[in-house]
């Protein structure tokens, strides 16, 4: 984290809740007194395209975009998307990756190949990557939309503010707008936080 600025890159596919997760991080950062900027680099996201959301916070943030190789944290909602954006991380950065694989129609049609082992490729980079199946946890909790909160829980111990602050913000948000979902999101956050402690698939020893 340079100049006291934290750069978080959240990546996935349109419709997965990438932007919502980024917004949650941004709001929580504001509540902690930081200056914040959040931007999307998304084409026609609603139509199944790639989405990457940049969240930057610190004492004073100018550009909303995280420069190449400057992300501190990467939250990958899908394995190949995490792989796509990994070069955006600093060598000392941390990636939290959902092992879900979603192949687009162009892959299904045989025009392109989906990498055989994206997690293995992530590990080979030597960057600290934690990978787990967030979908399975969400299903266990009975609602696939919880992946979002699970991923936030997983990254929460790597933030410059306490995990509890992020959790409280998420849960309060639900309490205000969708009270029925507040409790299960609290569980999802905790489950994600636990899952995020999974041993890194690789760690750069010389960092």
């Amino acid at each position: 984290m340079r100049d006291g600025i934290t750069n978080i890159l959240v990546v996935g596919i349109g419709g997965q809740g990438v932007m919502t997760a980024a917004e949650m991080l941004a709001r929580t950062a504001i509540s902690q007194g930081y200056d914040v900027k959040k931007t999307e680099v998304a084409g026609m996201a609603q139509r199944g395209g790639v989405v990457s959301s940049h969240v930057r916070f610190g004492p004073k943030v100018y550009s909303p975009q995280i420069d190449a190789g400057e992300a501190d944290l990467l939250i990958g909602f899908e394995a190949a998307e995490a792989l796509r954006w990994l070069p955006h991380l600093r060598p000392t950065g941390v990636a939290m990756v959902n092992t879900l694989r979603i192949a687009p129609p162009v892959v299904s049609a045989g025009l392109y190949a989906y990498p055989a082992d994206p997690i293995g490729e992530l590990a080979a980079t030597g960057i600290e990557v934690h990978a787990f199946d967030a979908g399975a946890i969400a299903e266990e909790l009975g609602n696939t939309k919880l992946v979002n909160t699970i991923m936030l829980g997983a990254i929460s111990d790597h933030l410059p503010f306490p995990a509890e602050v992020l959790k409280a913000n998420i849960v309060e948000g639900f309490r205000a707008y969708k009270p029925k979902l507040a409790e299960v999101n609290a569980q999802a956050f905790d489950a994600g936080r636990e899952a995020g402690h999974v041993k890194a698939v690789s760690r750069q020893l010389t960092a």
Binding site: G43, M44, R47, Q65, P105, Y112, N143
Partner: protein
């Protein structure tokens, strides 16, 4: 409802540039706001609609929106029109003359340039319009400035009786950033329309005396720009390069070169040339960082100053830190090591149509019929040019399909002799600018088969309402245009107006075949709603019975993203020829149960399973 609507002065909020514009418009006492949707400007009106005491509407196109705002201004109300960059092309006929006549109530045009072309047909620099139409331009760099500058724009507009352009870019519209609210709404007196034909009736005799007034206004605006606190220097100790920025490039420059002095132009046209000259004298080298055309650069050079700009920076796309750094380092003769952002060798994820999209049926038909020239338009159906349909041959501007198709019919070349000409257009685009093309084609005895894809939505921009949907911007019931009657009124023979359910694939194919053979114009109108709107009814998912699937691959050609390849097998026929079989599967979470694909499957392998009593476990741990 959006929280910021009720927010008090001096509170802090995370707002997008578009949300900030809406709040500012409300505070500024705007009484009328009009827009036609377009990325990245759409959310401006969607947010204004949430505030009380502002009349707001989706207009049918940008020219209409600007004219609505002009009318309100002449009545003495503050008025705002918003649009994406290409909307300015449509609206220009109105504002080019209104600028000459001037305004009464503050009139602000907020235009959003899609710098970097994330979802547009071209990249345009709207700052040309300020020069062309003699209108001042304010350029916010982030949400806070969008909020501040919109309010300033109304004051400026009234002080100089001129329309004012607030020029945003994607990187201001859609970035969320902190905004500290300054005040709440201030109601203003609205004097009402004061008749004054010499001022408001732009005949040559009345327009001529306005010309010197407009040029005098330009001079006064230049003085205002020179004196404006929106054009301000941020000091920096490293004077090797002094930057001049407009819009969000300020943020990128500050980020990348924190020690360099920057002259930030928030009031960028007319450019404050004296201020620029003074700034230039304090730095070794002057670099203008502007998106996207070298407008300030050219003006500064014409003023006799030595300046870099597009001489070292790209002429298109965003000037983000990763673009600036190498260019500036090269100028300083310093080494630069480029870091990578993403792995370029991975598969792409091109945007595609949604599961059960009502456009899938027409494209299934078009991709199965030969000898067509398919002249397209702008909307979700433009995606029909892509995989797997490859059934759209052109797309340039909204409404162009019908008129271009007509021209192609009249200008047929040798290879077109046996071809039929088809125009494909959506409901919103038809009402925006397409119906004139139909009228023209009928009047001039053309022969085009028109596919009017009425999905009761402006799908591409996120499902807004239009005069064909039966609802207005606020979701209230509104009169609904009858497309069949409209086509008939424009002169299409009733026999050639065909309503069709786009999910009925055999009928869809048959109709397109029939109508393209006709020696006169036809209009085929589809009638299923966009799957992402509330008008769409989601049903139980279908599934493929694997033991029934013969691997014919037909359903995959439909292009529904819920259907994918389960596996491929190569078989050898008796003749010795090999053939690839493609077996299908349906993702139950994506499938909406629209039934469309069932029609593609001869062996009836696609079925809707009986509902199971699924245990909903959301509260299992509660």
């Amino acid at each position: 409802m959006n929280a910021v609507v009720h927010a008090k002065a001096e509170s802090r909020h995370l707002l997008s540039g578009n949300e900030a514009v809406a709040r500012a418009a409300w505070e500024a006492g705007v009484r009328v706001a009009a827009a036609y949707p377009g990325t990245p400007a759409t959310e401006i009106l969607e947010n204004i609609a949430l505030y009380p005491n502002i009349y707001s509407e989706w207009s049918v196109n940008e020219k209409v929106a600007v004219e609505v705002a002009i009318g309100a201004s002449l009545a003495g109300s503050r008025a705002l029109a918003a649009m994406k960059h290409v909307g300015m092309n449509v609206a220009s006929d109105a504002f080019m003359t209104q600028s000459l006549a001037g305004v009464v109530g503050g009139l602000v045009i907020v235009v959003a340039d899609d710098v970097g072309l994330s979802s547009s047909q071209n990249e345009q620099d709207s700052r040309y319009w300020g020069r062309f139409g003699h209108m001042p331009i304010l350029e916010p760099a982030d949400s806070q400035e969008a909020y501040d500058l919109v309010k300033r724009a109304f004051d400026l507009s009234e002080a100089h009786e001129t329309p004012v352009i607030v020029r945003m870019t994607t990187r201001v519209c859609h970035v969320k950033a902190m905004v500290v609210l300054e005040s709440e709404r201030l109601e203003r007196p609205t004097p009402g329309f004061q008749k004054n034909p010499q001022r408001w009736v732009m005949t040559p005799a009345n327009a001529k005396p306005r010309l010197p007034i407009m040029h005098e206004r330009d001079r006064a605006l230049r003085d205002a720009s020179e004196a404006s606190d929106l054009n301000v220097v941020s000091a920096g100790g490293d004077r090797r390069i002094g930057f001049i920025t407009s819009g969000p490039t300020f943020m990128h420059v500050r980020e990348t070169f924190p020690d360099a002095p920057v002259l930030k132009l928030g009031f960028s046209h007319p450019a404050p040339l004296d201020k620029i000259r003074a700034f230039a004298s304090q730095v070794d080298t002057l670099v203008v960082v502007e998106e996207t055309e070298p407008l300030l650069e050219t003006e500064i050079r014409a003023a006799g100053l030595e300046v870099h700009g597009k001489t070292i920076l790209p002429r298109f796309g965003e000037l983000a830190p990763s673009v600036l750094r190498p260019a500036i380092k090269a100028l300083l003769g310093e080494a630069h090591e480029a870091a990578s952002r993403s792995r370029a060798d991975l598969f792409p994820r091109p945007p595609t149509m949604c599961a059960s999209c009502p456009h899938l049926g027409p494209y299934f038909a078009l991709s199965h019929i030969r000898n067509l020239n398919i002249i397209g338009d702008i909307g979700c159906y433009t995606l029909g040019a892509g995989h797997p349909w490859n059934a759209l041959d052109t797309c340039i501007s909204m409404g162009a399909s019908l008129s271009m198709a007509h021209g192609m019919d009249k200008g047929r070349g040798d290879s077109d002799e046996k071809k039929s000409i088809v125009a494909v257009i959506g409901d919103s685009t038809f009402l925006h600018m397409g119906m004139q093309g139909l009228l023209n084609m009928i009047y001039n005895r053309g022969n085009v088969t028109v596919l009017l894809l009425d999905n009761r939505s402006v799908g591409m921009t996120g499902g807004q309402e239009n005069p064909g949907t039966g609802q207005d911007l606020h979701g209230l019931p509104a009169p609904r245009v009858d497309f069949a009657k409209l086509a008939e009124a424009l002169g299409v023979r009733p026999e050639r107006i065909r309503m069709v359910d786009p999910y009925e694939l055999p009928t869809m194919v048959k109709l397109v075949r029939e109508e393209t053979k006709m020696e006169e114009p036809s209009v085929i109108i589809t009638n299923r709603p966009c799957s992402l709107t509330d008008r769409f009814e989601r049903l139980r998912a279908y599934t493929v019975l694997d033991d029934q699937c013969t691997g014919c691959g037909n359903c995959i050609d439909l292009g529904c993203p819920a259907i994918s390849v389960a596996r491929r097998e190569t078989v050898t026929a008796k003749s010795g020829k090999t053939k690839e079989l493609v077996f299908a599967q349906i993702d139950p979470n994506t499938c909406t149960g629209c039934h469309m694909c069932v029609e593609t499957c001869a062996p009836d392998a696609i079925v809707q399973p009986e509902p199971q009593n699924r245990v909903i476990r959301i509260h299992a741990h509660a």
